[in-house]
Symmetry: C2
């Protein structure tokens, strides 16, 4: 591809060869090989150089795009000036939504999103500089954040109950936490040791709910499928989670009150992080930060305070 673009830019094989520091014959072979692989003639050879065929013209922008993508790929792991690297807790989480919004607002800032296992890994990665920031809800209970890590709450996400159409509570417009007692709430795929597990453990302990965190995670589709078809099962879902649901099998999202359980998202970063994108990200989040009033909401005691 690089050779193809070099020939286009140079206008002839010989100059492209000089640019690439190889012989004209090598360029000729490379182009011939590419043409053979594609089963298409890319250049018309003339006595004054090489001109693109129609197929070559159509191919050219794709070739340039490929080189651009390759360059970005290399840059993504290049120490020094790599893209802003942010950890989110799950690809469907509200944090992902925040980062998508940030990307829309600042498309000029290169961005890579990763997902780390737990808060300890995230803090270690932030301190080592492997990532620039992390969206998390919590400090490790009993172990405060290190001195060099800053944090700020950026979003409180209310949990809603998700039920199928045949569920006993499907008709409710709103539910109190007390009304959930005795109903089976299914949260598969929650890995023990993560902050999600801790969150739901606290929720159960506080309000006496029945949460079944067992079972492997067969993916969000399977979960929604089961919820839709099983009258005895419901699940929790963040209010910002967008359902990708081909045929909406009558799923109901029901707000929960008295109190509203909220999942707090906070941004963590190293105080002396030099990445130029960090300031922009923090400013963006500060400008768009929204949370429920603390009154009437519930969150575990060990989350990062406002």
């Amino acid at each position: 591809m690089r050779t193809f673009v070099a020939v286009v830019d140079a206008g002839q094989f010989q100059d492209a060869a000089a640019d690439l520091s190889i012989t004209q014959q090598a360029v000729s072979k490379r182009i011939a090989g590419l043409e053979k692989d594609l089963a298409v003639r890319l250049f018309t050879r003339t006595a004054r150089g090489a001109r693109l065929t129609i197929d070559g013209q159509a191919f050219l922008p794709h070739a340039r795009e490929l080189l651009r993508v390759a360059e970005r790929a290399v840059a993504s792991v290049l120490p020094g000036s790599r893209p802003l690297r942010v950890d989110v807790i799950a690809s469907r989480s509200a944090a992902s939504g925040l980062m998508r919004a940030f990307h829309r607002a600042h498309p000029e800032i290169e961005l890579d999103v990763v997902m780390l296992f737990d808060i300890e890994t995230a803090v270690a990665a932030i301190r080592s500089g492997a990532i620039d920031a992390s969206f998390r809800a919590v400090a490790v209970p009993g172990r405060p954040l290190p001195e060099d890590i800053e944090s700020v709450r950026v979003l409180d996400e209310a949990l809603q109950l998700l039920t199928g159409p045949a569920h006993a509570l499907a008709g409710a417009r709103s539910l109190t936490v007390a009304q959930l007692a005795g109903h089976r709430i299914w949260m598969p795929g929650i890995v023990p040791g993560t902050e999600w597990a801790a969150y739901y453990d606290d929720l159960v302990a506080e309000f006496g709910l029945t949460i079944e965190a067992t079972g492997p995670n067969f993916g969000s589709d399977a979960l929604l499928d089961t919820i839709a078809d099983t009258p005895a099962l419901a699940t929790f879902m963040g209010e910002q989670t967008r359902l990708v649901w081909p045929a909406d099998h009558g799923l109901r999202r029901i707000p929960v009150t008295d109190p509203t359980p909220v999942y707090p998202h906070a941004l963590l970063w190293r105080r002396d992080n030099p990445h130029p994108g960090m300031a922009t990200l923090r400013a963006h989040l500060a400008a768009t930060a929204a949370g429920h009033d603390a009154a009437g909401t519930w969150a575990p005691g060990w989350v990062i305070p406002r």
Copy 2:
């Protein structure tokens, strides 16, 4: 890259090797080579397979994107189901604008834009199936379009006079063609034998203008530079042409009337072109087609009729 993604998808080197029909050692070598080139560790090797490092996670979406782009590149020259391939007369022409608008309206339709030398090449390419459609203004004078080529006028683009701030006509809000007589109009880079050359030849013959089509084309920047600085020179420019002009050196765009010279853009395509995108393109253009009223405009006699 393919191997990297295969390992990620398989979760371990051995299964990826099976997927790729090579040995585990070859996969190990490829990944080691990639890691060496990038000077970064992409996987942590465990006794149960390979897990992505943070760098690997950041790299992954770029790798997938690269494979997608590569696939699209190959598809762009694949006979059978390749992207819709449309010829435009210049990258700054109104036809390019129309295709950009079409792409915005129908981003799902893969599109490649090429630029052919003249109408004869374009017609031959349409007939052979090398391209699907072409934006042109004209039939070759004296030689009507072949039976199997259809055409429809889609846009009449009025020409405007472009002058620098010191030009004698710079203050005019509008000009008649008669007022242009005696002023030097400079149109560099027009290649003899093209329909542009024929257009301006006719314009000169009809109204006795002074058009200098000589001189090589040093690019639009150089042209605008000269126009801005030379009081004795002006040039024609399509009303839809967007100037990319860092500091607007006081350039003036002046409408021309009595009559308004318009450059008609027509779409040509083969009657039996089977590409599914063609119907969409024609429908889109039919819906957005706009032209000046024929009254008060001028175009050469040999253009494609409305």
